[in-house]
Assembly symmetry: C2
């Protein structure tokens, strides 16, 4: 079965969505807006909600609605408005401490009854570094080494309570068994954390681990830890190659490749007819103000804005991915896309404005379902991260018109069959790494 | 008018509350339990909920229910279950980064419609330090200097968006006015933070600032920044002296003393008759297992557990407050209480087990109301942090039986008259420190 997440972002992923008459320009900080979106996604029995994040204010606030509620907090609010759907929050290993972050995710997992997921990112961009006592972005490799140790420490903290540690023995006056605590006493290169965590082991054991970077370091990290991978893939061939590569890497580390779900992003502009879908796409692209986007593209490409002519292709002499310290795979994706399709800067800006490098697509519900099925059946995806260009209308269109088609084709669930996010993904609750009794004997 | 907060802690503040037949021994991680408590407090029109916190697992888990959901996350869940009541979360300036914490509180303030408060603590205890890459607790003075800078940075971040920065100009395609952002570019002793925050200025401007340490450094910090102060005071005379001292310190810094509310903790065991109240208190004290508490008391007093004889008074030779690096005022409070009342270790343990140094009190609703009124009218308190020994029953007893008496006496509100936490406390929304137009002219 397919896995489908609703990737929520303000009033939509298209950067000009806020300018449509239907959009509430201030919805990005309105919890009621997000509750509506969450209920629509749950009505469609989607696997999970997904929130991106970076601890920095990007770009100009002139360009589009700016400011994002912190994801672990916002998803806690959405936990109370829903009953089944998973809740995946992005959080940075570069700008957090493991004890604090592991605790917040454990808290969210308790509060949501086992629906928490953590999208692990290392956070590109010197602007974020400057919010955390640094002048420069730590090197790519360092960020990934820190990320691996951060995850190791977090796993130890989440396992620092045996599931059986709480006893609640009122008559004996013994609440918990101290011998079933496993303080990590971790001393590593980046962190020293004594523990144990101050939250008992949560319904899922720990949150579903998700990863979204597609650089070499990112793929290595994903192969080791991730249970789901979000990725930006523009063509079927590239998506298949990525899929095979990541499943192989996971298998090479002794993992069952089925326990790592690969979910490319897709930005579907949906219309009752193809013409209607294209009209929506064109209306959105028409509302983009290219000057803001050109500025950002220049920053990403490490060139001066005046070297990017709106009606010409990208300059020939751009840095190689090796020279890029942040968002490596995103950099390569943009350059490859522009070169392959010989896009002008203006065209490239429209493509990126629609989905920031993810696959954009305009069509009828049937065509969207076809596109999803094709990739799913061709070994390019285990599911998709759905990124509606306009919210809530684009999510409603997907849930009410595309999901029923996928169900008729036997590709998607009609009801939730479990209660946790791992249940939705068909993954087992992880055993405690410190359990003193073999798992089989404990049952 | 009085201000009353409900200080929530698992199944009650008394350490043996979980052993009562009525108590759910696992409620400390059950969000539904906390939602019930929040609704009871809101039914009583209390000003706020309050959650204590430390990023560490204290003590043995044998002793009492252990593990606490992270407060900014838990209060976000409670925001969704309530409409009016304030939400005050404790968070440490020693073990957080300003950008992350300022953002979470701004998010909570947006999500709750202006009900967030931050209880600022510096976190005593080497055990917490060891969860954050340190071997020793930073010195008391250093923790307080870092706290002051942390608050300054946070205030700059919260004010880094002018209230008028979001425009939402769809026709012009300009979402916000970049000239109305005020990135702090802070470079201090402890922090370098460029900013701006990635959350627009919130309904209250920023969360209500609360402080709870009563050492000299703590009182200085409170006098400068706090809008509410929680404090442990055992006698009327001590409470009056603290009240006068803090109001004077605030006035000396040019503040209106009415803008800093002083709220001692009170642990009321409530019964329909005095005998019933005393029976509840005695039942709870009987359920304490003194060996756990003796161990903790020995740690606090820096003596060996075997030097504390349960049926004798404290040893004569204890360290002075100057030698204590963490929780100074708490140390002095315990020693003063024991010496003044000539308590045996067993008696002291019962008193501390009831309210961890806060004023414990057994009586009828009328007697509890009398105690509250006396301190309020004698210049010892602007209100109280209510710490029910057993939850939810102790909060229900307070709301249903004590609050109506306070209302009849004209001391407490019958309805909420505002929508934000500062409204409940009778405080104005703070102006933006970077506002370019004089506040009067802006209206």
């Amino acid at each position: 079965m397919l896995h489908l997440n609703a990737f929520l972002m303000g009033v939509g992923h298209h950067e000009a969505a806020w300018r449509l008459p239907e959009s509430d320009a201030f919805a990005q900080t309105d919890v009621e807006h997000f509750k509506r979106l969450a209920r629509i996604a749950e009505r469609g029995k989607l696997d999970s909600l997904f929130l991106a994040d970076s601890p920095v204010l990007w770009n100009s606030i002139g360009r589009r609605p700016a400011g994002t509620l912190e994801p672990t907090v916002l998803l806690t609010a959405l936990a109370g408005a829903t009953e089944h759907i998973g809740l995946i929050a992005t959080a940075s290993t570069t700008y957090n401490e493991p004890f604090n972050l592991a605790r917040r995710f454990a808290s969210l997992d308790h509060i949501s009854g086992g629906r928490a997921g953590w999208n692990i990112v290392t956070t590109a961009g010197v602007e974020a570094a400057r919010n955390f006592n640094l002048d420069e972005l730590p090197a790519h490799r360092d960020r990934y080494e820190r990320a691996a140790e951060f995850i190791d420490v977090s796993l130890k903290l989440w396992d620092s309570w045996d599931d059986a540690a709480p006893l609640g023995d009122k008559a004996g006056g013994v609440w918990g068994d101290d011998d079933l605590l496993h303080p990590p006493h971790h001393k590593g290169r980046y962190f020293r954390v004594a523990g144990p965590l101050n939250v008992p082991r949560s319904p899922q054991g720990y949150p579903l681990l998700v990863q979204a970077g597609s650089s070499q370091d990112g793929k290595e990290l994903a192969a080791r830890y991730a249970e789901a991978v979000f990725t930006a893939q523009q063509t079927l061939a590239e998506a298949q190659a990525f899929y095979v590569d990541l499943k192989r890497r996971a298998a090479a580390l002794g993992r069952d490749p089925d326990t790592i779900k690969i979910l490319p992003g897709i930005v579907p502009a949906i219309g009752a007819t193809e013409a209607e879908a294209r009209a929506l796409e064109e209306e959105l692209d028409r509302l983009i103000k290219p000057e803001y986007a050109r500025q950002q593209l220049a920053t990403t490409l490490r060139v001066a804005p005046e070297d990017l002519h709106l009606d010409r292709e990208l300059p020939a002499d751009l840095p190689s991915e090796d020279e890029i310290q942040g968002a490596k795979s995103r950099y390569t994706l943009i350059v490859t896309l522009a070169r392959r399709e010989r896009l002008t800067v203006r065209q490239l800006i429209a493509r990126l404005g629609g989905g920031r490098g993810h696959r954009t697509f305009a069509g009828t519900p049937e065509q969207v379902a076809d596109a999803i099925e094709e990739w799913y059946r061709s070994g390019a995806a285990d599911g998709f991260n759905i990124m509606p260009p306009v919210l809530p209308s684009g999510l409603e269109a997907f849930v009410d018109h595309v999901v029923p088609i996928l169900r008729r084709r036997g590709l998607f669930r009609t009801e939730y069959t479990g209660s946790t996010l791992r249940d939705h993904y068909g993954l087992a609750r992880p055993a405690n790494q410190f359990a003193r009794v073999p798992v089989a004997a404990a049952h």
